[in-house]
């Protein structure tokens, strides 16, 4: 409990996390409002399309998770933390718990707020969740945000550098995953094993554009993809903890 309190104080006592949170809320809601306000009849209004902006919130959250971990190495507060908690692992678990809990709350807020906003902007559309898949699309954002935070902390522990970690996660999520699909032949199959594609397969509502890519049938179901994504996130965090424990601080 002491360590959770320490990490909570750390998280909320600098400005960057607050800025990230503000952007991670405003950006998805803004996108949703514009989309439902301006989209013509050719765009279907359904539960899936209410979540088109949520991914942007998740990217900002990933930045937050990387930032609050990697900056501790840059500023030296990680050494101070290890001085106070020489076994190191409990402190790292406390950090991932606090950042993960924040991510869970943020994910649920983004998803339900986007859905609620869409219902207000497009009152005629049927946006009532009917099926289990609909609920998975809404509730699943919380889980995906949580796992994304775990991944962000893990990458930062492995690289121990703000600029390097941020560049890696942003290039990966914004560029690399998207272009792999265009590799002739195997590209489409590799794409279907990319972590953030996997997370989207879990929440469903993969967007109205993915049909145009002509992807083969996905190799896993939604829950299989969740397990796959979770394994990658927890694996990276575990590797980060293992390395941090062994390395000189």
């Amino acid at each position: 409990m002491n360590l959770l309190r320490a990490e909570r104080i750390k998280l909320f006592s600098t400005r960057a996390p607050w800025w990230c949170l503000a952007i991670a809320v405003i950006a998805p809601l803004g996108i949703t409002a514009l989309f439902f306000g301006l989209a013509g009849p050719e765009i279907p209004a359904n539960i899936g399309t209410t979540q088109l902006g949520t991914g942007n919130g998740r990217t900002v959250l990933l930045v937050l998770a990387v930032l609050v971990t990697a900056s501790e190495f840059n500023w030296g507060t990680m050494r101070l933390t290890f001085q106070a908690v020489p076994s190191r692992v409990p402190a790292l678990l406390a950090k991932v718990t606090v950042v993960g809990a924040l991510a869970l709350v943020l994910g649920l807020f983004d998803s339900f707020a986007s859905w609620g906003l869409a219902s207000v902007v497009a009152p005629d559309a049927d946006l009532t969740p009917h099926t289990g898949a609909d609920w998975r699309t809404l509730l699943g954002q919380g889980v995906v945000f949580l796992l994304t935070a775990v991944l962000g902390v893990g990458v930062a522990l492995l690289l121990r550098n703000v600029a390097l970690s941020l560049t890696l996660v942003l290039v990966w999520t914004q560029v690399l995953e998207g272009v792999i699909v265009f590799i002739p032949g195997v590209g489409k199959h590799i794409y279907q094993w990319m972590p953030f594609y996997a997370s989207q397969q879990f929440t469903g509502g993969g967007g109205f554009a993915s049909g145009a890519l002509g992807l083969p049938a996905p190799p896993l179901g939604p829950w299989g993809y969740l397990g796959y994504f979770a394994a990658i996130c927890v694996g990276l965090f575990g590797a980060g903890v293992w390395l941090t424990q062994r390395r000189d601080a």
Partner: protein
């Protein structure tokens, strides 16, 4: 008490700390002295378990650092005053650190008062002067009211007022029975602060003992003697097995002390116009001892060889 036994740590091909054994005792300020690059900071990190030694052990009150429960209550340390987030207030910085070891927020306020930062407790640390950041680092070291304190170069970059403040604080902490282990590459500062010295060069122990002994053992560089009866004195010194050189009509005698020289001169009937021990400065003694052990020696200055 801090006890290091045969500590060794290398980074790649560079041996930073080499078979280092020393003890820092409770109730005393122990100065940890050596040129830049001698391995002082590495040793500090080994003591705090931040780095793992290749071999050897170091214990605090008999326990390795990594086995201490809530270590801030046993050991307070400031290895680098810059280990803080500049966007965080001093109070929040101390609050999170206190929380890790189950200490209440009240302790943060208490140590801030102790170092005189109460009025700026809620100011972002980025706006602090260097001296204020040092004070914050010292406040952090005192959070758990620890028995053992470690400071790495605490007076670096401080103004004279700050230096005096830190020196008095170290004395006060040691007087309360705590172990105070403080590193510096500045000998004059250590001579005024430390009762004991651990001197290292290139990662090896050069001297361990009291500061007074260090000064006495290393500061006598001979005795200067002037006499109008040079021939008599020369003979007497030779018979007394003393070594001497003559420059500008004066002798510089070594190997015997000034009492013996006076007796030899008296017996030989040589009148003395001067009989004065040449006491080098502490700085000189330190340079003599560590000159072999400087990692990056400057090229010899022409005409400055002694």
């Amino acid at each position: 008490m801090i006890e290091a036994t045969a500590l060794r740590k290398s980074y790649g091909d560079t041996v930073a700390v080499n078979e280092l054994t020393f003890t820092a005792h409770a109730g005393r300020v122990t100065g940890f002295l050596g040129p830049n690059g001698a391995g002082k900071s590495t040793t500090m990190r080994l003591i705090l378990g931040l780095d793992t030694p290749d071999s050897g052990t170091v214990t605090i009150e008999g326990t390795p650092y990594r086995h201490l429960k809530d270590p801030l209550k046993t050991v307070g340390a400031m290895l680098d005053a810059m280990w803080r987030h500049p966007g965080r207030s001093a109070r929040d910085h101390l609050r999170w650190l206190a929380a890790t070891n189950g200490l209440p927020d009240k302790r943060a306020d208490e140590v801030l008062a102790l170092v005189g930062l109460t009025s700026v407790a809620k100011t972002r640390v980025a706006q602090y002067s260097l001296g204020m950041q040092q004070r914050l680092g010292i406040a952090a070291s005192l959070l758990g009211d620890p028995r053992v304190l470690l400071y790495d170069e605490p007076v670096n970059g401080l103004d004279p007022e700050g230096i005096v403040w830190i020196r008095q604080l170290m004395h006060a902490l040691a007087a309360e029975g705590r172990t105070v282990f403080v590193s510096s590459h500045l000998l004059p500062e250590m001579a005024q602060t430390a009762q004991d010295l651990v001197v290292i060069g290139r990662g090896r122990l050069i001297y361990q003992g009291t500061t007074a002994d260090f000064v006495a053992r290393t500061s006598e560089h001979g005795v200067r003697v002037r006499t109008p009866h040079a021939d008599e004195l020369r003979t007497a010194l030779a018979e007394g097995n003393a070594e001497f050189t003559e420059t500008d009509g004066a002798f510089v005698v070594s190997g015997v002390d000034s009492d013996r020289i006076g007796e030899l001169a008296f017996a030989a009937g040589a009148t003395l116009h001067e009989l004065s021990p040449i006491t080098g400065t502490l700085e000189q003694a330190y340079l003599d001892l560590t000159s072999e052990a400087v990692e990056f020696p400057a090229a010899a200055t022409p005409g400055a060889t002694r």
